[in-house]
């Protein structure tokens, strides 16, 4: 009975999808609406209007910055959600010992410690070069976040003494939304609409600086959030 139901659901989904997708313009065709529509302007004028050679970053941080703000809020919502679900009352002192302690091999610990600075530089570079080459705030932030997770495993600290002390951590987690608030309101004051950039060729440096602030905010915020997600799940 259950199999029949599952099969019916699958058929109800698959058949319309196949039929519909068959009628779409062929992928890879440069004349299809996906390329001649809105995106044509991004490709044509993107570098001049946004100052970003990486058009994807230009779209993310300039043309469709509000969506990126929504994305930053969603990842923060994930942190709030996980904390709301997993936080427990005042930590019992014995619970840390109850957690299984898996011995970290000294080879692993050494390798991680050795490569950590390079990973950190790589992550920061990805964030900073986001508007010139493939990269960006969230990508670099994930790399830094993964590094922080590795370090917190190796250096053996838990929620009691986290890698990033608690007061700083709370503000760092909000770095993404804060960066958007600062840049957005600045844009409102300068150029008249929320999340806009000052127009004109003279403001090139200002635009680049605003984008950098956003990238750093997203990157640092994501890294802090990923570390905290890991610590919450590892928890007591």
């Amino acid at each position: 009975m259950k199999r029949l139901l599952a099969a019916m659901v699958l058929a109800a989904a698959a058949i319309p999808m196949f039929a519909g997708v068959a009628g779409l313009p062929a992928p890879g065709d440069a004349g299809s609406p996906a390329h001649t529509g809105v995106a044509a302007r991004y490709v044509e004028h993107g570098v001049r209007e946004t100052g970003a050679q990486n058009l994807v970053t230009g779209v993310l941080l300039n043309y469709r910055a509000y969506d990126t703000f929504g994305e930053v809020m969603v990842i923060f919502a994930a942190l709030a959600a996980v904390s709301a679900v997993l936080s427990r009352g005042p930590a019992q002192p014995g619970s840390g010992a109850a957690r299984q302690q898996v011995e970290i091999s000294p080879v692993v610990a050494f390798v991680i410690r050795l490569t950590a600075p390079f990973i950190a530089i790589f992550g920061v570079m990805i964030i900073l070069k986001g508007h010139l080459a493939p990269g960006g705030g969230f990508q670099g932030g994930v790399i830094l976040g993964a590094l922080l997770v590795l370090l917190s495993v190796v250096l053996g600290r838990g929620l009691e003494r986290p890698l990033v002390p608690e007061p700083a951590a709370r503000w760092l987690q909000a770095a993404g939304p804060l960066a958007f608030a600062v840049v957005g309101l600045f844009g409102l004051a300068c150029a008249g609409t929320l999340l806009s950039y000052p127009p004109g060729p003279g403001a090139d440096m200002l635009r680049a600086a605003m984008m950098l602030v956003l990238e750093l905010g997203i990157g640092i915020g994501s890294a802090a959030i990923i570390l905290w997600l890991f610590l919450q799940m590892r928890g007591e």
């Binding site: 009628g23 529509g37 302007r41 809020m73 679900v85 804060l178 957005g184 609409t193 999340l195």
Partner: protein, 491 residues
């Protein structure tokens, strides 16, 4: 250009992100901060709604890029729902003061308020969205915060209910995103108005029908339309009571607004089986009305009863949308707003009773009407409203939908409406009977006192709105009518 529109969603979201950082030293600050942000949002929504009345629908181009190259925010009659969203959320936040202190662990408290603010900002952003992908992002924001809010109170039932809710919601979100991708591949644009224009010029039918069907299915799942409602009763019943109010009154309506926006995008395309689609919606709505009411009738747990009642009322709204004539859609629009107020009243009042007595079943709550007169009065008013008795808010929506059923030449639906109202009346009579006319089953009931003032004030305020909404019914009608004009013109 006045910046009220973008800031209406921007401010509560940023405030929600800062809640935990600010409340670290002093957790009491979290509620005050949340109240301030919600009050600000209410102010913004009022300013925007007033401008809507004076000028008609208006837009805002985010980042200074005109649509379709940038993201357009659009405030029209359906966006005015943000007024009710902010109002109910404010009431819930006031109510949460004593409730959350008792029911939610202190470490989770700042996150609870943070999630409520994110939910508020997400809903307001969703209502004002003029861009398909922006709609999706805010829908996800509302969804993620809702899943977590179900489980924030702790306990196994809540965690299981939240997980089921998450799976259902994530499937519908994936489907919606897929259809947005299809629409983008077809038209090259993401702006709703632009897509609607370009769709009308396309030849191939298949993908368009797929996109319409997929978007509708996704939003129907979010709105818990029968038979896709299975996730709702457990989620709404297991959540903490203020959260249940938010979920049943507001979050479920996101699916309805999504359906409306979808309809608006596809309205101009010829050759789509819109009439048949409307019929399907109407039948599903009718089934939901009866099924929801029947399930509710057999529940002993008061929150499960209210949750199934939500399923039933969504049926009313979708029936009105499916009938697709002027009167029915007006009724549907009004019922979206009125049901929000009524369901919020009911869940908050029932929550106060549960909080004070510790019991959730009708059997154990016998005689509580004498011990908690105000809360029980609010439940009574809510019950009368939801059954649709004339001077209350619930009557108007159902009346218009019934008129619409006759106008569409399908009086059978009006009969279903009547049947649903009778069934609802029957189970609310059960509640009132238990509260007022039965003796308590044990002595614990005698020591029960009325709910504290911060909980009582929002309950009574919302109950008063239930009655006022019925007496001054012209206002919601005036609000909804212009939007319905534009929609019902194309059927």
């Amino acid at each position: 250009m006045s910046a009220w529109l973008p800031l209406a969603a921007f401010v509560p979201l940023v405030a929600g992100a800062l809640t935990s950082a600010l409340a670290r030293r002093r957790p009491r600050l979290a509620q005050g901060w949340a109240l301030a942000a919600a009050a600000w949002t209410l102010l913004a929504a009022t300013v925007l709604t007033r401008r809507l009345f004076l000028e008609g629908p208006f837009s805002y181009a985010m980042g200074g890029w005109a649509a379709p190259w940038g993201i357009e925010l659009r405030f029209d009659a359906w966006s005015a729902a943000s007024l009710f969203i902010a109002l109910i959320m404010l009431a819930v936040l006031v109510y949460s003061g004593p409730y959350a202190r008792d029911e939610i662990e202190s470490r989770r408290l700042p996150w609870y308020y943070s999630l409520l603010l994110l939910n508020l900002g997400g809903m307001v952003g969703f209502a004002c969205a003029g861009d398909l992908f922006n709609l999706f992002v805010f829908m996800e924001l509302v969804s993620v915060s809702s899943y977590a809010l179900v489980a924030v109170g702790g306990g196994r039932i809540a965690a299981l209910a939240a997980f089921k809710y998450l799976l259902a919601g994530a499937v519908s979100s994936a489907l919606v995103l897929f259809c947005i991708g299809v629409l983008h591949a077809l038209t090259g644009s993401l702006n709703m108005a632009d897509v609607a224009l370009r769709l009308a010029e396309i030849d191939s039918r298949g993908p368009v029908v797929l996109a319409l069907a997929g978007l509708s299915a996704g939003f129907m799942l979010k709105a818990a339309l029968f038979p896709l409602h299975l996730w709702l009763p457990d989620a709404h019943a297991a959540a903490p009571c203020p959260v249940s109010a938010v979920l049943s009154a507001l979050v479920v309506k996101i699916g309805i607004i999504g359906l409306l926006r979808t309809h608006a995008v596809f309205a101009g395309v010829e050759g789509l089986p819109m009439a048949a689609f409307g019929q399907v919606l109407a039948w599903l709505g009718a089934l939901a009305i009866v099924a929801g009411a029947l399930f509710a009738l057999f529940q002993d747990d008061i929150k499960l009863m209210l949750a199934y009642s939500t399923v039933s009322n969504i049926g009313y709204i979708v029936l009105g949308l499916g009938l697709a004539n002027h009167a029915a859609m007006t009724g549907a629009g009004i019922h979206v707003l009125n049901h929000a107020i009524i369901k919020a009243t009911l869940f908050l009042a029932a929550g106060a009773i549960i909080h004070q007595t510790g019991s959730r079943t009708l059997r154990e709550l016998r005689g509580v009407g004498r011990m908690m007169p105000w809360s029980a009065l609010a439940v009574s008013i809510g019950a009368l409203s939801i059954a649709g008795l004339p001077p209350t808010a619930g009557f108007l929506g159902k009346w218009y939908i019934a008129l619409g059923a006759f106008a569409a030449g399908q009086p059978g639906f009006a009969a279903v409406l009547l049947l649903g109202a009778l069934l609802i009346f029957a189970y609310y009579i059960r509640i009132l009977n238990a509260f007022y006319f039965r003796a308590p089953i044990d002595d614990n009931m005698r020591s029960v006192r009325e709910a504290p003032l911060p909980m009582l004030l929002p309950i009574l305020f919302l109950a008063a709105l239930c009655i006022l909404g019925g007496l001054f019914g012209r206002w919601p009608v005036a609000l909804v009518a212009p939007a319905v004009e534009r929609l019902a013109g194309g059927g």
